[in-house]
């Protein structure tokens, strides 16, 4: 059968010693980068450029893939442990994962994230191997109008992530979109809202916002509470693995997340990112008892983690076949391929089967390595959490600050972090949820680009979003979600689910 034949080529390539070594090195490096908040892809790339150009294409790509996954795993770790999402895809994991950590279930959260990701990785690899050609076809159907509608759907779904007033959540999304407008316009090249500060022409760094709002804001809020109310990690830290009951609840979420992620990841661009938000929304909606979401429901960790890993796998399809990288590490992969004379495109599968299938096989191996690497580490992470808070928070601050500096070797990002720390505290005091703002910020530039392209293509006709069937369907879904959430019956259930625990 074709699939087995292809996979056997792949494993043949991936299992040779050099490639295994590179995969391992990539995974370790990636995990380290993911765990240290703020140490971003730019620093990694700077470190690796010299070695990449001297390597052959296959080991180079295998290493980069390892770094990519490793960073995802590591990013989930910090999201769960200290509520600082290291990667944009771990923003959702932080919501319930951190709450679980606060309640002494950090081990279970980390293990669920790891195992769920591994399962999703396995399934994703198989899907990738079996369905790569037809999936590429599907990706071609998505034009700018469809992308825009998909993102609107994603953003509306994000209000489910908020625990307070619906309208304030939507306002936060719009605010996030606006903050994302501080950048250089892609189409015309005009710097916007930059006030002549050169660092602002590239926009504010996502990490500065995440750290300021989630990291610094959390520390300030925690210290600001009177000592009896302070929510530090409980001394009674649970075991390393999820309990039987948690496992039973989590594994359907893993399967659902994997399915959702595999589909969404195919979309070139932010597919894998949307996957984690979509999975959280899905879990919450179909949960028979959704009261614990936002307070440490294991499904809120299992679903998104599996989704983003499945999405990460399937996002290799558009990357390899269409040459569209979703982030900086992948952009480097495309670059490396081009330098080695391999043109990314639909024919990569047939012209370089060794490379293509070897990469896919090594992705699975990388996932396995990461689970093996990370599970024992969970014990160490849990120990760290029992350190008294007054020693913990300066350490967190140090790593955050250095991390911010190393983003661009510029203290501007540190000061941005300070500004967003203030803003984050304001949000906390006013009960405005920050998670929707982050989503709006991340998706803003992409949304705008697609909106403008869609309008350009339709010569200014706004009805294009409704006349194109796929786009219309997605928008209808968004409207349906708003309706469902505002219906009185659901409204009271929602309010009851979000009793303010202050």
């Amino acid at each position: 059968m074709d699939l087995l034949h292809n996979l056997s080529i792949g494993f043949g390539v991936a299992l040779n010693f050099t490639n295994l070594a590179y995969a391992f090195f990539g995974c370790v490096l990636g995990t380290l980068i993911g765990v240290l908040p703020g140490l971003g892809p730019v620093a990694t790339i700077a470190m690796l450029l010299p070695s990449i150009y001297s390597l052959d294409a296959t080991p180079a790509l295998i290493m980069l893939a390892g770094i990519y996954y490793g960073a995802q795993y590591g990013g989930s770790t910090t999201a769960i442990l200290i509520n600082v999402p290291g990667e944009s895809s771990s923003v959702v994991t932080a919501i319930d994962g951190y709450q679980m950590a606060r309640q002494g279930r950090a081990g279970a959260a980390l293990a669920t994230a790891g195992l769920g990701s591994f399962f999703a990785g396995c399934v994703g690899t198989i899907i990738l191997a079996a369905f790569a050609p037809p999936l590429t076809e599907l990706a071609f159907k998505f034009g700018p109008a469809e992308y825009f509608s998909l993102m609107v759907l994603g953003l509306i779904g994000a209000v489910v992530l908020a625990s307070g007033s619906l309208i304030k959540a939507i306002s936060m999304i719009i605010l996030g979109l606006l903050i994302g407008q501080i950048n250089t316009d892609v189409i015309s090249g005009t710097p916007r809202y930059s006030f002549d500060i050169p660092e602002l022409t590239d926009g504010i760094n996502f990490v500065a916002i995440a750290m300021g709002v989630f990291g610094f804001g959390e520390i300030i809020a925690n210290l600001g509470r009177p000592p009896e109310h302070r929510e530090v990690f409980t001394k009674a830290v649970g075991g390393m693995l999820p309990s039987k009951e948690e496992f039973k609840k989590a594994w359907p979420a893993v399967v659902r997340g994997t399915g959702l992620g595999s589909i969404l990841g195919i979309l070139p661009g932010g597919g894998a990112l949307l996957a984690s938000f979509a999975a959280y929304t899905l879990e919450k909606k179909i949960a028979s008892d959704s009261s614990r979401f936002g307070k440490g429901d294991i499904r809120g960790v299992a679903g998104p983690e599996s989704a983003n890993n499945a999405g990460a796998q399937t996002s290799f399809i558009p990357m390899l076949t269409l040459g569209i990288p979703p982030n900086a590490v992948m952009a480097l992969m495309v670059g490396a391929m081009t330098i080695k004379g391999i043109q990314p495109g639909p024919q990569v599968m047939t012209s370089n089967p060794d490379l293509f299938w070897g990469l896919i096989a090594s992705m699975w191996i990388g996932n396995l390595m990461l689970v093996i690497l990370n599970l024992p580490l969970i014990g160490i992470w849990i120990k760290l959490l029992t350190v008294p808070y007054r020693y913990l928070y300066p350490a967190i601050l140090t790593f955050c600050c250095i991390g911010l500096f190393t983003l661009n070797n510029n203290n501007f990002d540190v000061f941005s972090g300070v500004l967003f720390g203030v803003i984050g505290y304001v949000f906390y005091k006013l009960h405005c949820e920050p998670a929707p703002l982050l989503l709006g910020f991340i998706l803003g530039p992409m949304m705008e680009e697609n909106l403008r392209r869609a309008l350009l293509l339709s010569r200014g006709d706004w009805s294009t979003f409704l006349t194109r069937p796929l786009s219309a369907g997605l928008l209808a879904g968004a409207v349906a979600m708003i309706v469902v959430v505002t219906l009185p019956a659901i409204k009271s259930k929602r309010e009851e689910a979000f009793q303010e625990v202050d």
Binding site: A43, S188, F216
Partner: protein, 153 residues
């Protein structure tokens, strides 16, 4: 008109003000038209939407009852100022005086924000964390971070 929810009142004003600011800023960029949207198109639209939403939040804060008036509560000025001040100092000192000065200052100022100040524990932390940061970031990851002040380095 009584403020029924302090939090929402402040939030409404915040959204209104920010939306207005962005919208006004957007008018300085070319708007273009539907067929060829310019750089000001999206921000202006968003700014207007945010203003409307902010107005709605403001309205609900004046009309809809909430428990206890949803007070904003005390502002924790001490941790706010000290933590962010520590970070700002770090940002200022790192390029000027290097890691060995910036990190201890950060830790020392930040630890003042806690309830109890134990100078011994803080001192140990300064040393340990500075060393550890140097080990991981400068030696381990070979990042270019200034370590010593220019006079010594």
């Amino acid at each position: 008109m009584k403020i029924k929810s302090q939090r929402d009142f402040a939030s409404g004003i915040m959204f209104l003000a920010v939306g207005l600011a962005f919208a006004i800023g957007a008018t300085t960029y070319s708007f273009g038209n539907s067929a060829r949207p310019g750089p000001g198109y999206f921000p202006l639209l968003l700014g207007i939407i945010l203003c409307i939403l902010g107005a709605i939040v403001l309205f609900t804060s004046l009309t809809i009852e909430s428990e206890g008036g949803a007070p904003i509560g005390d502002l924790a000025f001490k941790p706010l100022g000290l933590i962010l001040g520590a970070v700002a100092l770090f940002g200022f000192l790192l390029p000027v005086a290097g890691l060995v000065v910036a990190v201890p200052v950060l830790i020392w100022v930040a630890s003042l924000a806690g309830d109890e100040y134990h100078w011994k524990g803080t001192l140990i932390m300064c040393v340990v964390l500075t060393f550890f940061s140097w080990l991981v970031f400068v030696k381990g990851l070979a990042l270019t971070i200034p370590v010593l002040p220019p006079a010594l380095g």
